[in-house]
């Protein structure tokens, strides 16, 4: 089985879909000859031509707007927004148009498209190349929101997203693009949307706390769990993989086993998706909880350039929070 990094897995999924379905087109800034600033679309224009791999003008609203029209009229566009920090010029097209198209037309029209966009910090990108805007899109009915944490999931989830009938915002944790490597089968990989996974430990085992995370913070949560295991604190790490629709059953089952939960995300804390997860856990697992559910997140500040390691909720911050919930006495 070949070993791939996350960007190669994304490229592999795009190539597979373009080979099997002539309706699939890729469009975005620098996605053609250059193959994308992160090389996600490398080699596609050579294989599929400029009609299906479209170097667009520099306008995100135009990219998403045109992709919506293409999808309405029978294509399966996969637009790339070069950095998720650049998605805001397309916000109206995504929130008012893409998300609501099937609904507002009474089911007469739909726009099955997947917006791929690198997100998250840790690459010295300052606040225009580091944001994690997933909560805005989870807050919009009609969208699905996905963020893989490893190459295998990136390929399987992207394939499922591209085969589905609903619009998907597919966040790719750019810090893991080359850092995350793993075995990824050639050809088909089936990982459905809306199903979370246990990232740690490998086999189910009794644990004192559940850590719930997604994207680039999943490896951090696993690192924290490994450190805590050395202290005798067993932790289960849930990788949501799909933020919306949320796999609440998997989350609740784990929290009911462990009695404690910590939600970890890179985006700012206030009104982040972690707040929704915490609310759902306390609504539905209140009597199983031995401690208040905690959040470990980015700061409620813009994403910094120099002090990004201070900003990010890395393994030490996660481990501190887990120790605190385990030690909690009412």
């Amino acid at each position: 089985m070949p070993t791939m990094n996350l960007i190669q897995a994304v490229n592999d999924a795009l190539r597979l879909r373009m080979r099997e379905d002539p309706r699939v087109v890729v469009l975005g800034e620098d996605v053609g000859k250059f193959g994308g600033v992160f090389r996600a679309t490398a080699g596609l224009v050579e294989e599929f031509g400029e009609e299906r791999v479209i170097d667009t003008p520099l306008a995100e609203g135009g990219i998403v707007g045109a992709a919506i029209g293409m999808a309405m009229n029978g294509l399966r566009p996969v637009p790339e927004i070069q950095f998720s920090d650049f998605i805001y010029p397309a916000f109206d097209q995504i929130v008012n148009e893409l998300a609501k198209l099937r609904y507002r037309s009474g089911g007469q029209y739909s726009a099955p498209l997947v917006i791929r966009t690198p997100s998250g910090g840790g690459i010295k990108g300052g606040h225009y190349h580091s944001q994690s805007p997933e909560a805005y899109f989870v807050h919009t009915p009609g969208l699905k929101v996905v963020m893989p944490s490893n190459p295998l999931d990136a390929k399987g989830l992207l394939l499922s997203a591209m085969r589905g009938e609903d619009p998907v915002i597919f966040f790719e944790p750019k810090r893991l693009y080359r850092a995350a490597r793993g075995e990824v089968p050639e050809g088909e990989v089936e990982i459905p949307l809306g199903v979370a996974a246990r990232a740690w430990p490998e086999a189910e085992a009794p644990a004192l706390a559940t850590v719930i995370s997604w994207g680039a913070m999943v490896p951090e949560a696993v690192e924290a769990a490994q450190a805590l295991a050395g202290e005798g604190v067993a932790v289960e790490v849930i990788d949501l993989r799909t933020l919306w629709p949320l796999d609440l059953d998997t989350v609740l089952a784990s929290v009911k086993r462990t009695g404690r939960a910590v939600v970890v995300h890179e985006a700012p804390r206030s009104c982040g998706f972690g707040a929704e997860v915490v609310a759902l856990v306390q609504e539905r697992a209140f009597s199983w909880l031995a401690a208040p559910v905690q959040r470990v997140t980015g700061l409620d500040t813009p994403f910094p350039y120099t002090l990004e390691l201070e900003y990010l909720p890395l393994a030490p911050r996660i481990a501190r929070a887990v120790r605190a919930v385990v030690a909690y006495q009412p």
Binding site: G62, G65, A66, I68, M72, P77, D92, Q93, R104, G106
Partner: protein, 369 residues
Amino acid sequence: MAARTESLGRAHPAARAKREPSAPAADLERELRVYRHMVLLRLLDERMLTLQRQGRVGFYGSCYGQEAATLGSAAVLDAGDWIFPALREGGAMLLRGYPLVSYLCQIFGNSGDPTKGRQMPSHQAAASVHQVSWSSVIGTQLPQAVGAAHAARLRGEPTVVMAYLGDGATSSADFHHALTFAARLKAPVVFCCQNNQWSISLPVSRQTAAPELALKGAAYGVPSKRVDGNDLAAVLEAAGEAVAAARAGEGPRFLELLTYRLGAHSSSDDPTRYRDQKEVDRWLARDPLQLERLRLVEAGVWDEEREGALRGEQAEVIARAVAEAEAFPPPSPETLFEDLYADPPWIVSEQREALRAELAEAPRKKPGA
């Protein structure tokens, strides 16, 4: 083809009717067909505004004064062509065969509306006539139109997409996106800019310093033309040429249809607060219905008797359709949760059950009941 703009070829359409007294019979036949729909639309708009004042309709944006620009441009399309409209092009759906009762059910927002009462009136959509609903945000539909046109070209279909916008929309970011992308992709799209000279309260002279909106189209490399939008024959001719060029693979076209909004922006607006009645009166003298009627009468295919009969007949058609449409009940509460996702997630079914239980205990009172 080099981008260019062409100014109005003629100052007054009535003069044109005199200059060209013997239009070919086929042209007159088509004008007559469109004229009948112009009259229908005028009567329908009047009726809807009355119903709005009576509280039976929530909101309405009429086409008053823009019937030639709207229906003349839509009339040149083939049945498979698409329309991405702005606020005032709902009437194009009727011209292209959409049932009046379904159209009215959308205005009433009831269960007879294929879009299930989800949007305000004047936000119609019908896949049967390839007309998509517009966005109140303004301009949003334009890049989508480009994408749909590009898709048609990639799929080898002869479809042309007509995208409507007003003068205000030429200031929007999506106008810039759409013109940029259309020219770059050589998409078979025709932009019909209805310059009715008012964006709610802002006159076009304060909307932009560009002396003609057609100049904006040309700036993007899109062949662009200003046309007298109140002259049905001129609209038919210019739109026909633009659509033929787009269909022939020559890329996008931009038409500025110079017209005038004789009525209010919408039923929520009072134009006497910001514009001079003398200006309205000047344009009333150029009412596109009167101009076309004069032309048809001079051509010998129309007279007062036929006009009276047509109006009587259409008033009856509208009255019957209103009675039929208004009788539909509101959409059922369950429809709130339909058409969200292809495979609805748990949250949707959970909220549907919660609402069902809530309404069983505390049903909503109808307004006024």
